[in-house]
Amino acid sequence: MPIPSQLAFGDSLPKVDQLNYLAGDYWYRLFPSQEQLGAITGAWRQELRQMSREIEALSAAGSYETINNYHEQTFWPLVIPVSQIRRSPVRYGEGFIYGTGDPVQNVVYGQTIPGAWEVPVPETLHDAAAVTDRIVQPSRFFTVGMELFFYQERRQRWLQIPFDPRDIAEETTTADGHPAIILWLYMARFDRRDAARSYGSLVGLNLPSSDEYLQGVRAVLSSYVRGSSEYDLRRLLAAAVSQPLAERGETVVHLLLDTAVKAVVTDRRTIYGKAGDAPVVAVGEQLHDGDFFFDSVKLTDGRAGTYAWLDMLLIPPRISGAAQDIEIAAGDWPVVEIDGNVQVTFSADPDMNTAFATWMNAGRGLRYEILHYLSDNVDAELTGQLPPKVDLIALLADRLLQRSVSVSRLRASSLSDDGRHLLRLVREVIPPWLTHLIQFEGAQPLGWDDPDACRPPVSLFF
């Protein structure tokens, strides 16, 4: 039976079966010895193992806590057309001396780096552990991050190599016949957007894979499947600033405070903070589920003692019903009584006073609230005298918002790349009869107030 020279894509199944049979037959005819056959079937078994890992990844996707972030290949051939190998240019921000001075000492931006080469890699290639020249018995082995580096340049990723890759790589040809070389990427990880394709689409947020993204959408899914909890809200907020959460019983054993990078060392792991972050845990402290490690994120539900850091509160119209935001700074504000109507002077801006008064009149009476607030603190209700000053944030937290409004404050400079998007999902983590205010320390992210960008997904499963 003649063997077709080529099996075309789209061929019918009988042809595939026929060829499969013939191939099996030829395997035995071509490799009669047990050793040879063993070698080939061993190689085939490796292929099967790769497939079985993919099946595992698929089945793991059934659980929102276990899906893989990246698709991993033990060995992946990087076929590089020779024409695409180029010398590596100096990129802006690299650790060279810039300028136009002595070309021996200084490197000019745009100039090529002596002895450095780079090759394009697929955009979906996230990273790899190492690069080698062969799968079996490699003679060269280079560690990514130490000797080789990935670069992202706009939408193109590059692998920078400190020598000419043609010196070590095996030659081959591309599918269209052009000369090329093969480098083998060991433990190559591809971003096939498995997380986004699986439960990311459930929450209406499709982003490239990242640890923060994974943590954030897991928090949302957890609240779907198990119901809303403060833990899930904490997990989502922490993901926005690239922080993990403490586990129950985790103990802090060391704090690294005197280095450029802050770190918390526990009996289970080391957690790094970003520049400007300060740990909020102490050495020897046994942590609770969902504790934050750094001060880049804070959360309060208004219970006494949990909002001491809240030096400003911005109440938007969607909560107050007022015509504009009501901004209240911490501190004691004078209380004035005019013709039996209590007024709290808290701003020099008369419009702001009016807005606040409108809200108070629309809701519960301010006088009522102040009296009740004071009755817990001062015996003012009994004496019928109002104190000259009142702490408005304490009043709001204890009385008006009554734990149906929680507030978080995030350090804007600590936000992860996905942070702004993840914060849109807070609405999906909390019960709809509660609400949450997100405030930023520092400039709020670009587009945060854009009405279109602010509108999170509404129907998550349909």
Binding site: D11, I55, Q137, L202, S223, R226, P431, P432, S459
Partner: protein, 542 residues
């Protein structure tokens, strides 16, 4: 076996090459004694295995996706396996259904008329409807013997009329037809026939549920069935035992701009408003109600008033017609909506303090006034009227669910409303070379309507999406020329907001009256889509 390979379509050249290289490298490195990097072994043995390996890997992907509702929507799936997966969640694929409605036959003589079973009636746009039973229009009530016998009734025009039931000949939305449309008999003749019209809108036409629609329903079953989060509210209501065909849900809560109802009570309002869509299009039903004369105008016209209680088509959208057999259609219809929040046994009703908050909910009531020309009635007289209402079914069932002790949270204040409707009419110009075949317009209309009706709470759709939907049906040489859209949003305050647009389609953003992309849906009837095709002779460019 679901793992079996069906064909080698869609294999990626790059992926196959990567497998081939890896296999070649492994075999070569393991030392088989002869080079396998090129030649016969590579081309005919290893390459074949690389192709099969990739094909099996892809097939496993499809099978895995079909078994796993979390990832099922991310690519190709196997229809049979998706059906089996749905079964494990207690769901089954919804069959195609045929639109059903009633047809009015008007004749000039008071003589018996026979409409045989299988009679076909066609609209001008080639949509056709068929009777599944024989009907006889009889002159005397005493002659009526079976449930398909009808009595001829003299109408306001002096003709005689009777109603028959029919269904669309084709399944799907395209069978839906608005009331008043004229039909023609194609298979029989009736002596003294005056006209045939659609009496009650043909509705309920639906294509077989697609894989993606079924997967959406499966995914809807994943969250906890509680009123804990917005997603779990959707899951609760979409349960098989409650609203199995639920298409879209949006929950508005404390702190949302659209939560107007709770803010009326001040900053402490913590209610939840749930907006839902249970069908692609609103359903139309005729209800027998009483109309009372409230005024006799100086010109002799009568002003009638019809009270619509909260249990009549709960949360209805529009009053399409009011008709009394002896008076004909009422004109100048004005709808004034109110509310009835009186206690309901076993339910904890939400707090509603303003009529506008009850609109499109099961607590909505209405008074409809209309005018007729008869002089035979005085103030206080009543007649029976057929009131045709369009509504989103399931509002009452959903409200009962969230009100019930089994689901509500303590002190729960949850109101269910039909999603605020934005009706979309579309004008499509198709430009084609003279030699190009003209496409069949009906599939285009169905696809465009489905795109709008399945968009959930999209808020905004762009013309390019409509154009790409149409393009799938166009033959070579034909292109979408221009698109025009007319949007009509029924606002809760009784106003109608009309917008004409060409490039993008937005629902109004009026959160202060609870209208926004979170609360409003697009409703597009295929009948509201018109297609014009133009032949264009363009110079050939070299």
């Amino acid at each position: 076996m679901p793992i079996d390979l069906q064909n080698l379509d869609g294999l990626g050249e790059t992926a196959v090459q990567a497998r081939l290289l890896r296999l070649t490298e492994l075999v070569d490195g393991l030392g088989v004694g002869s080079s396998v990097k090129r030649g016969f072994i590579r081309d005919h043995v290893l390459r074949l295995h690389a192709i099969l390996g990739e094909a099996y890997s892809q097939r496993l992907d499809i099978v895995g996706r079909s078994l796993n509702p979390l990832i099922a929507s991310s690519g190709e799936v196997d229809t049979d396996i998706v059906g089996l997966t749905a079964a494990t969640y207690g769901l089954s694929r919804q069959d195609a259904s045929f639109a059903a409605g009633t047809i009015r036959i008007e004749v000039s003589d008071d003589q018996s008329v026979i409409i045989p079973s299988g009679t076909v009636l066609a609209a001008t746009d080639n949509r056709s409807y068929r009777t599944s039973q024989s009907f006889i229009g009889r002159t005397l009530a005493a002659e009526i013997q079976t449930n398909t016998d009808r009595q001829l009734v003299r109408n306001a025009d002096g003709n005689y009329e009777f109603l028959i039931e029919a269904t669309a000949t084709l399944a799907g939305l395209s069978g839906n037809l608005v009331a008043g449309t004229e039909l023609q008999l194609t298979s029989i003749n009736i002596r003294s026939l005056v006209r045939i019209t659609v009496a009650t809108e043909f509705t309920g036409g639906r294509l077989e549920e697609t894989d993606s629609q079924l997967i959406s329903r499966i995914r809807g079953q994943l969250p906890a069935k509680t009123l804990s989060t917005r997603a779990s509210i959707a899951a609760t209501l979409s349960q098989v035992s409650i609203l199995p065909g639920l298409l879209a849900v949006s929950s508005i809560g404390y702190g949302d701009e659209e939560m107007v109802r709770s803010r009326r009570r001040g900053a402490d309002g913590r209610g939840v408003d749930v907006y839902l869509r249970t069908q692609p299009l609103a359903e139309t039903t005729q209800f027998l109600l009483k109309a009372e004369v409230t005024e006799v105008r100086s010109d002799g016209h009568l002003v009638w008033s019809v009270a619509i209680g909260r249990d009549v088509a709960p949360g209805f959208y529009r009053v399409l017609s009011v008709r009394a057999a002896e008076l004909g259609d009422f004109t100048d219809l004005v709808v004034t909506r109110g509310r009835d929040t009186s206690p309901i046994e076993g339910e904890l009703s939400p707090l509603i303090t303003d009529n506008v908050d009850a609109v499109f909910s099961r607590y909505q009531t209405a008074t409809v006034t209309g005018v007729t020309a008869s002089r035979e009635y005085i103030v206080g007289n009543t007649v029976n009227v057929n009131v045709t209402l369009s509504y989103m079914p399931g509002v009452q069932t959903a409200q009962q669910t969230v009100n019930s002790r089994r689901y509500r949270f303590v002190g729960g204040d949850t109101l269910v409303r039909a999603a605020i409707p934005t009706y979309v009419s579309v004008g499509i110009d198709i430009h084609a070379k003279p030699s190009a075949a003209l496409p069949d317009p009906q599939p285009i209309k169905d696809a465009v309507a489905a795109m709008f009706n399945e968009s959930g709470f999209a808020g905004r759709l762009h013309g390019s999406r409509v154009a790409s939907t149409i393009h799938r049906f166009l033959p070579a040489g034909a292109d979408v020329g221009s698109l025009s859209f007319v949007l009509e949003t029924l606002l809760p305050n009784g106003e109608i907001k009309r917008v004409r647009t060409k490039d993008h389609i937005d629902v109004p953003n009026l959160p202060n009256i609870a209208v926004s992309s979170r609360t409003s849906i697009f409703l597009c009837d295929p009948a509201a889509i018109s297609i014009a095709a133009y032949a264009e002779t363009l110079p050939e460019l070299i």
